[in-house]
Symmetry: C2
């Protein structure tokens, strides 16, 4: 593959070719500090989800600010971040494939690793792989706290924890993440969803202690709900990730009482490449920003963004008039995680989007790590 010319450190923002994934470093660092302070103040472990940023460099910034490590969803994400120097990773997801579990066991020999389980078959295969490799890791039992996706019923947690321990594996506690709670718009709805999750966590803890096993830690929570998990008294570790970049969808939530305010720090730079009488067309479509959580908004211009397909966005006038041919338009993605996954690199900018300068060009190390 041909090497494309890339943005360079010291370039003005104006010289960065569009579309580009741009971090406003000043905003990101404020978000980083606010979340780190929240976790410290609540005496909770912070283990941000790196499936969001997929960057070893950003993971290192989070750890430097007090995080114990990061979460990922995929084996290959863990391998890529470990290769980038991340030393403490939790795969907060299930793996049942024998060949993949051999890779998990090998990785456990190189870094501090944890993984989630929710089936007897998965536990048996994990135990075999670890035995064959002579390595060890920590095992969380996932319970379904309302998402309807992975995880066993709370009352079944004790039996799985018992199986984990019976294999001589280290039982680390409960994975209890409520994905569906994150984007309930009112804070009251999210509070109610997490109350329900907490009741299930308590039931699972009872099931585990009933089996004569200690439950060291409950881990979960996202950017939409972490203030409620923090207040519950049962969660010991927060997995929130999106707080660092804040996407359009999270900003649409009513804020939770007591949660820090986070700023938009992730943008897609786009340019008007065609201009009609009543619309403008920018060079960023849904190959540049994910639309699973809705379309992007236009930053500091009130325009109506319409989906123009893979490579185009169509702008209609809002409170503001249409931009001119050649103008830069900054987009706030609807959902940061899959947007980041579309890009090979971050352009990290200091001094704002209008007059800033490129301070770093960071690879999205785990981009496309699906396995």
């Amino acid at each position: 593959m041909q090497m494309q010319p890339q943005p360079r450190v010291g370039d003005p923002v104006a010289a960065v070719p569009s579309p580009a994934l741009v971090i406003d470093l000043d905003a990101m660092e404020r978000n980083l500090a606010r979340m780190a302070a929240f976790a410290r103040d609540h005496r909770l472990r912070l283990r941000p989800h790196a499936k969001m940023h997929k960057s070893a460099h950003i993971a290192a910034l989070q750890v430097a600010a007090g995080a114990v490590g990061v979460c990922v969803q995929k084996l290959s994400e863990a391998e890529a971040l470990a290769a980038g120097g991340v030393a403490d990773i939790y795969i907060s997801n299930e793996i049942v494939d024998v060949a993949k579990l051999a890779r998990v066991a090998a990785l456990a020999g190189r870094i501090r690793l944890a993984i989630a389980v929710d089936s007897p078959l998965g536990i048996d295969r994990l135990a075999l792989a670890l035995k064959a490799a002579g390595t060890s890791l920590e095992v969380f039992v996932e319970i379904d706290v309302g998402q309807g996706r992975c995880g066993v019923a709370a009352t079944a947690a004790g039996a799985l924890a018992h199986q984990v321990v019976s294999h001589g594996l280290r039982f680390a506690g409960l994975q209890a993440y409520h994905g569906k709670a994150q984007h309930l718009r009112s804070a009251d709805e999210r509070a109610a969803a997490i109350r329900h999750a907490v009741a299930l966590v308590r039931a699972a803890q009872a099931s585990i202690t009933g089996a004569g096993i200690a439950c060291p830690l409950v881990t979960g929570a996202g950017t939409g709900s972490f203030a409620f998990e923090a207040a519950s008294g049962v969660y010991g570790e927060l997995q929130a990730g999106s707080y660092l970049f804040m996407d359009r969808d999270y900003a649409d939530n009513q804020p939770a009482p007591g949660a820090p305010v986070f700023e938009h720090a992730l943008f897609v730079k786009s340019q008007v490449v065609s201009r009609g009488a009543s619309h403008a067309v920018v060079d960023a479509g849904h190959k540049s920003h994910a639309i699973d959580s809705g379309l992007p908004s236009t930053w500091q211009r009130e325009l109506v963004f319409a989906n123009g397909g893979d490579e185009h966005g169509i702008l209609h006038p809002g409170r503001d008039a249409l931009p001119a041919l050649g103008d830069t338009v900054w987009l706030v993605p609807g959902h940061c995680d899959p947007t980041v996954n579309l890009h090979d690199r971050y352009v990290a900018v200091r001094g704002g989007l209008a007059d800033g300068v490129v301070e770093g060009v960071w690879p999205v190390d785990a981009r496309g790590c699906l396995v």
Copy 2:
């Protein structure tokens, strides 16, 4: 970045780690031959859109079957495919950025290149860039034939063509692609949309010949509409791309009279990693398959696929019972173009998805080429 273990030529399909982007080579080759025969029989140039497959290897297969070259949407796609040996590329899209136009002009010195324009500013800047580089290319004027995106009104085509010629550039004809026509479900609706497009093409041709300029070629058409453009007598070149892989969304169209039948040839391999009483969870979410045109269908299993987020798909029973933990489930993506863009490589399989063998592992050369 750490090198992940990759599928190898000769591996059985069963050994390919999921999620993976898999081509059924036998089906793809039948699609390739059918479209090539259609273009030959209609004495039309075929210039398939490579924004769909982003692969120099596949472009070469298309050219070997009779295509004159390929289209792309982005400069960096053209650069990546040219680096992979593709010698005739049409950027069927507008570029107005001066730095990018300098790259266009440089590329025009290495391969046979064409580009679309729809603004006086774009033409002026293109002409300056080509003059500075001392290179040349072919210029198509884009008209809006019903999409409401890029392109000028048909009656304005003559003025732009005149400007192109005045700069000493080679005016190649009209870009007249009707994106919105592609997924109108009934063949009659698509026929009507293309009748409308053809009327606008004729108006644009009149505007151009009225300016004393010949209009050598009309190019456009997609997999949903190409039979109508072919029958029109005004289009000389077809840009259809998706025919090669056929996604779920195109298969939902009522077939056009006279169009060849295309088969699904592109799949995402997934695996059941969690199994509840009433649902199963596979390891492929919308980081593995684009959902802009709806969710994937399950191949040869009648199951209901629900969006499980970035990394998961949730299966509910359909006519068929749920798969077991560890089972392979093949997905037919809703939209092939942005699905391909999520993957680094194709696993090309000969002999079918059940018992086939890996015949090739091909890079998605232009994956992530957004600029």
